[in-house]
Amino acid sequence: MELHTGHHLIYQLFGMNVNMDTLYMTWLTAAIVIIITLAATRGRSLVPSGIQNAVEIVVEALLAQFKETLGPKWGQVVSVLLTMFLFILVGNELGLLPSPHILTSPTNDLNTTLGLALVSSFMVHFVALRNQGLKKHIKHYFQPFAVFFVINLLEEFTKPITLAFRLFGNILAGEILMEVLYKLVPVGVPIIWLIFSLVIGLIQAFIFTILTTSYLADSLREE
């Protein structure tokens, strides 16, 4: 049995391999996110309705989490975190649309999820340097004791790797199972898995965003 999911359309760019299908889906996802959020801001009325209301509910729920976790400096990273959630959510659900071999999730490619995880790591260091300075940022690797340096350093690698593989594994596995189910039992059963996958897509987007938020919380902390 030949599975389509997980195979990429590879092009050469500057002598390096690029998964073009992933990039196409990334741009499509980005376009959808932009269209939705712009549509939500078009009205800008104080009493929201329609898509403005829907987006505001999501944004407000996330903002509540960010504010609680990040404290007063949440504004510095709110754009990155909101984009992370919306991009991953839309990307995850995009692969569930019934369009065999055309639409896939950009998040079923490790390059995408690792890219997002590196964004998370980059932001952690960037924000820490900006708010606490180089000295303090380096010092925190040796806390609470100098011995912890190894563990702290290891964490810098495990954090993005776990973020990337958790999302990648969930989405890829979901799409593979979906494809397998369609081939085995075309009627009924895939629908159940589809509903399940919708929820998984939401949960994974939320987990990725919230974990990044908690990593960023250390970088934004005062003292």
């Binding site: 998964n19 992933t22 505001e56 490790l110 390059n111």
Partner: protein, 167 residues
Amino acid sequence: MVDINFTLVIQFINFFVLVAILAKFAYKPILKVLEDRKNKIASDLSSAEEARLSAEKLKADYEAQLQKAHAEAQATVDKAVKQADKEAQAQLDAIRSQIAREKEIAQAEIANEREAAIREMRNEVVTLSMAVAEKLLKKNMDTDMNQKLVAECLKQFDGQQPAGKKS
């Protein structure tokens, strides 16, 4: 299926481009609307609280005024009742003193009358005694003698009068 290539770098850049676009065109207005709404709700709540407080103050003022009006009305009524009492008492006193005065006058008149009656009776008695004595003595006395006798008799009578007054 799992191979890391240049896509990773492109995705990294892609994401920040998306962040830049959304931050400029979407998040700013969304966050502004949320902030505006929050401020509006806060100001609405505070103005509602202010309105409630001023209404309460107004109510307290009205109640105080009502209380004052009640007290004033009560004071007026009390004053009127007191005044009426005072006037009635004054009239009563005037009547009482009037009665007392009239009683005094009546008593004085009665006393005068009695005095007059006693005097008359005394004269009568004297005259009668004289006549009785004249008859008894069968002797005509001269005027001097007569006068003397009368005076004596009167003297005697005056001496007896307290006993006679008592009866």
